[in-house]
Structures are given as structure tokens and as C-alpha cells.
Amino acid sequence: MQAMVYRGPYKVRVEEKDIPPIEHPNDAIVRVKLAAICGSDLHLYHGMMPDTRVGMTFGHEFIGVVEQIGPSVQELKVGDRVMVPFNIFCGTCWYCARGLYSNCHNVNPNATAVGGIYGYSHTCGGYDGGQSQYVRVPFADVGPSVIPAWMDDEDAVLLTDALPTGYFGAQLGDIVEGDVVVVFGAGPVGLFAAKSAWLMGAGRVIVIDHLQYRLEKARTFAHAETYNFTEYDDIVVHMKKITDHLGADVAIDAVGAEADGNFVQHVSSSQLKLQGGSPVALNWAIDSVRKGATISVMGAYGPLFSAVKFGDAMNKGLTLRMNQCPVKRQWPRLFEHIRNGYLKPSDIVTHRIPLEHITEGYHIFSAKLDECIKPLVVPSAA
């Protein structure tokens, strides 16, 4: 089969690999119809996540058709069109029993600090991902769901990570009616978080980024008020000015490890790997909100330490909430929102790239060429 393969920092290519076998009785093998490149894949692509091995296939956002099932699979059958959450989870451990599917204890031998994620380094369990023609899906009775007949493929693939993560990020903000919510980052997760903040009753939603085309999308897609931080001497002061010097009630970090806005922070993390991530957006969030506010962190950071301003967070009495999104937990409510027309996830898709050209796709997305917001990957078997 054809699969994207990591060859070292900033280098990927398409190779022929063996179709993955059934390794466990509850495995399924899924033929991938559609995948996506996530902003967090770029952290792997840039060599930031420890234990990212040459030869690994990335891709934790994908949908497909069940090709083969293990002997204990009861809920899926060959030929089912399925969506697969980016979390791999067992369904019965202490965490899964309490809805924390992203923190499953039974799927990642390499680390206890993170659950299992498809195609996201050995630190997340060493599973190959879905930027390929076929992928192994463990715990087929637990994670995947058959895609409802009314849902199209592009909406379904965005329900495997980006939309649930943005929606989850807004929930962690504990938004109450009339709250001022500021979202750092106008990428897919930031756009969905901004959109979701309105569903939870926000009175004002502000989005901050440095890419004009993404801010334009935040205005049209997420109905948000937007600011380009490069146009202000100090975006924190500007945030105070536009909130009557109180600060926002809720901030959502939808940027993560490769935040721009401070050259030293960016280079020390993204290029030199001296930090787990560049906490520029997170520090801006800490300083931009009012005292007693809540910050929701959806951006992904590496496991090494990062220079976060915890002193300010403590002195301001902030609540910091964060986690990888337990995707499947969000699905029933998000299905309702899509059916009711409140959300149309595929509106953010900008590029559809054949798997054979995924090398270019990574560069376009990484360098932010061509007004790229969300690139999808289409395997030739689809």
C-alpha cells in the first residue's frame, strides 16, 4: 500500500508499505477514504516531539471503510463507512470509565502522561496513522462509529479531531452568558473554538492571529472580531484597551508549541528544541484575561518544560484547564449541531491533496502558502 513516511525533520515521502495486519482480536483494518493534516502534525514534521521515528506514518484524522475485522469485533462489519476518533482507547480503564478517553491507560506503553494517538510518535504509543491507504484501528468496538448516512465525508473527517477539539476547548472555558472570549490562533481548532463559544452563550468572541487570510475566515466563518497581533506594539495592552481594561473572561490557546510573536521563544522551541513548545500564545492568554478568569489550552505542547508565566497565572487567580479532547464524547451533541445547521465543519477546508503529493501538502501547510487553512489528503484507493 502507499503511505506517507517521515524521513526526518521537514522531510516526508510516499513509500510502499505492507498492509497492516490484525494484531489484536479487537482490531479492524480500515481502508482510508479521506485523511487530513493537522496543525499538530507539523510539530512532528518539524522534529519537535520526542521519539518520532523515521519510517512512521503520520495521520490521526481519517475516515474510511472497514476492510477486515478481528475475531472479537461485534459492532462493525466489513464495508462499514466509519469515522475514527484520533484517540485510541480501551473503553474500560479507570479513565475511560469516567469519560476521559484521551487519557486511556491501556494503549500507550511509552508514556503515562498521554494516551494513545494514531500516527503521533512513539511518545503517543507508536501507532502508524491514517495518511495511507490502510490503517490498523485497535479497539474497533470502542472508538470508531459508523458515519450517519446524511453526513458527508469531509464533515466526518473534521469530526475526528479539529471540530471536537475546538468545541471541547470552549467547554473547558466554562463560558457563561455574556462572557468575553478571546481565542489565540485562527487555525482550524481556533475557528471551531470561536464558533463553539457562541453556542455556549458568549457575548463577544475575539480571535487573534498574524495571518490576514485566517483572520478573514474567523470573521466570516466564526462571526468573530479579529486582531492581527503584528499591528500592535503589545497585543496584551491592546486586549486590555478593548475590554475596558478589565481583560477577557475566558481565553483559549489554539496555537500550541510553535507559536509566533516572540523570535527567541519560537526559535528556542521549534528550531533548537530547548523547550517543549513556544508558550507565546499561552503567556499572552495569561496576561490578557481578567483576574479570576479561565484559560483553556487546546494547543499541543511537547513533554519538555516550557517558559510559561505561572507567576502571573497564580497571582491573577486563574483557572487553567486543558486536555487532549475525548473526541467520541463530543459526537452525539456535535451531530445534532451539524444537523441543525449550526456548524458546517467542511467550510474550513482549503486544500484537497492526493496522497502521492503529500510532501507538497506538508510544505504548503507548514509554510502557510496558498492561504492554506485545512488540507485534506485523498488516498488513491478512495
Partner: protein, 197 residues
């Protein structure tokens, strides 16, 4: 003494007023407030047993066969019942990775050694690829040629992008080690040549 008469809301108990009323927001934003009640939010409360969403039919999952000694965090009691099987450790980078797993996730050594192993792994694979019919090609594998067909210049020029200053470092990261290796090889070959002649 002069007293300031204004009472800005932030410095009194009132919250600054919003520009739009609830009715205006509801009219402008599709679905505004449909999840206003926390009961409608799927991740509230954080810890919650959810019936019928997954269909696990085990208390503890059956164990996946371990086909090679699988590296694992020392913070785990045992190898998890299910695990990924991509890219078993091998070579120098594999030895480094196995060594890194002697340290807990709480130790910086664990992560720093893994990051170093990643760089060694890349070099091992680059060198191995030179002995195959499909050697690594830093031009095609970086996708840099897409700069020409996908508005590489116009996507950057005049856009006030904050990431431009470090874009120039990306080629250094990709090409730098190759140039350095070529230089080391050249110096080595020249020194050997001089010793013989």
C-alpha cells in the same frame, strides 16, 4: 487636590456592557446559546460515566502478542495490553531509545535522550538510504518545489507575517547537516590523500 469624576466600569463592581444584546446575538449567530446550559455540554462534568457510547465487552482487554521486547515507560506497571508496532528500535538510535526508557517521564534525561536519538535515527536512515535504489532527496522530500506552484512569494510578501524571520532558518535545519557532513567528508578524504602522498 483634583478628584477624577469618571467611574469606568472596570474599577467599580459593574462589568463593562456588551455592544450587542442577547436578542441581537441570537439573531446574528446561528445556534447562539444552544449550549448555554452546562447540562448540554458533553464534557461537563469532567468525570462522568457515559453509558452506551462505547461497546467494550471486557473488564481488562485481552493482551496483544509482544513480538519483540517492547520499550515502555517505567511509570507503567507492565506493558499495556495494546500498543503500536511501528518502527521497532534498531541501530545506535535504538540503543539510545532503549536507554532513555530507563528514566521516568519526570526526568529531562528521558526526553532529551529521545530527542537526540531522533536526530541519530534520521542520520542512520539517510545513510542507509544511500545504499538503496531510493536514496533520500532533500529537494523532493521537503516539498520545497511547491513554493513555485503555490504562491510562495505572494503568500509572504507584504503580509505582515510574524513567522517570516525564522523561515530563513528552516533551510539551515534541513541542509545544514548535509553541508556539514559533506565538509567533514571532504576534509577527511583530503587529509587521507595528503598522508599517502
Amino acid at each position: 487636590m483634583t478628584y477624577i469624576q469618571e467611574r469606568p466600569p472596570t474599577y467599580t463592581q459593574e462589568k463593562p456592557p456588551l455592544a450587542e444584546s442577547v436578542d441581537q446575538l441570537r439573531a446574528r449567530i446561528p445556534g447562539w446559546g444552544v449550549d448555554l446550559d452546562p447540562k448540554d455540554r458533553p464534557s461537563v462534568p469532567k468525570l462522568r460515566r457515559i453509558e452506551g457510547l462505547t461497546h467494550a465487552h471486557w473488564d481488562f482487554p485481552q493482551r496483544q502478542p509482544e513480538k519483540w521486547p517492547r520499550e515502555r515507560s517505567v511509570e507503567h506497571k507492565f506493558l499495556t495490553p495494546v500498543f503500536g508496532t511501528a518502527c521497532p528500535p534498531r541501530g545506535v538510535s535504538g540503543a539510545m531509545r532503549r536507554y532513555a526508557y530507563k528514566y521516568s517521564e519526570g526526568r529531562a534525561a528521558h526526553w532529551v535522550i529521545l530527542l537526540a536519538a531522533d536526530r541519530v535515527d534520521a542520520w542512520e536512515n539517510h545513510l542507509r538510504s544511500l545504499a538503496t535504489t531510493h536514496p533520500d532527496n532533500p529537494v523532493t522530500e521537503t516539498g520545497v518545489l511547491s513554493e513555485f506552484g503555490h504562491r510562495g512569494i505572494s503568500s509572504r510578501l507584504g503580509k505582515k507575517r510574524a513567522d517570516l524571520p525564522h523561515h530563513v532558518l528552516d533551510p539551515v535545519i534541513v541542509a545544514g547537516p548535509w553541508i556539514l557532513a559533506a565538509r567533514v567528508a571532504y576534509v577527511g578524504v583530503r587529509a587521507a590523500w595528503k598522508r599517502r602522498h
